[in-house]
């Protein structure tokens, strides 16, 4: 399940400053070199900073938050908050 990779990326960005810097400088290249797999949909959503879609797909929100904390994929707290707040998760399965 590659959504685990989205979570792994979040935790790795928190723990690995060199990786963090590479994603901040050139996210597309860094993502292509990241050793864990992503589906084409996940890759597109990551590069677009579309955390709402990733969350709907099943990504772990806590770990995704590191993307905004470290300003990856164009995210910051304001844009992250705006995108997550649009998700209606009342009908969780």
């Amino acid at each position: 399940m590659s959504l685990v990779s989205v979570g792994r990326l979040g935790r790795d960005l928190m723990r690995n400053k060199a990786l963090r810097k590479s994603f901040q400088e050139n996210p597309e290249e860094a993502l292509s070199k990241y050793p864990y797999p992503f589906s084409p949909q996940e890759r597109a959503a990551l590069l677009a900073g579309d955390v709402g879609t990733l969350y709907r797909m099943g990504a772990n929100a806590f770990l995704m938050g590191y993307l905004a904390r470290y300003r990856i994929f164009g995210l910051d707290p304001a844009s992250y908050s705006e995108r997550m707040r649009t998700v209606d998760d009342r009908q969780r399965d």
Binding site: G58, A61, F62, L63, G65, Y80, S81, R92
Partner: protein, 280 residues
Amino acid sequence: MATIVGSVGVNHNPTFPAVFEQLGYDCDAARLYARARQELTSLRPDLIVIFDTDHCNTFFLNNFPVFAIGVADYFAGPNDEVPKLPRYDVPSNRSLAVHLRAQAVNAGFDLALVQEFEVDHSVMVPLHYLTPEMRIPVIPVFISGHAHCIKAHALPVPSARRCYALGEAVGTAIERWPEPLRVAIVASGAVSLDVHGTKIDPGAMVGVPDPRWVERVHQHLTRNAISDLLDEMTPERLHRAGNVSGEFLNWIAMLGTAKRGTPAWTKLVTEEGYIYAAWH
């Protein structure tokens, strides 16, 4: 025989070390943590059992137990990035942890065995303020209380009654330990809080979506209405209270370890989603 001498419940806000350094240790939150430390110190504990919820730092999505216990001579932390929080080695008590695990498993609680582990801010922020000398051995018991996934079945949160019963089993096991240890119980976590989820505040990464639940929980604690609390702490209520509101299950387990009546001290911080409390 070991004896449970009291309990302390706190939050584990990872911004506190930097905030306290910036605002000074006479700010409200620092004073509350200082009071919590006084409460714990007055219990004169020989050992602490802390109920905690990990943030994917001791465990990860590829291996995530609902209940677990740390079994080690020492553990270290924090292993996440917490500004201004030093890294510590914390002494533990392997023999007692082995005993607690065996007794809990015999009572029907399958605690995962965790050895050679590190912990994150959810253990280390409380210990940093409650026992900064890190001389008192600490045994962590982990409860998976976070709901960070829209697919609720992916990370199921145990029920409040199940966690209370876990606390009862741990409490019974402590009192069966033959050494005359004074054991304090610490619970780590918020009551209503959403972190990086769908109920965060505009422009922010966190929010307190259900302040009325914080007040309701505080009311139940001060009245020692634990049965009412367990009845009302449903999955639906926790969902409304935010994706980390299940951290209060750590408090529920703490309450189960010993029947201590009304708390000796509480402080309600509704706007932050927190309660501080101590039982003697």
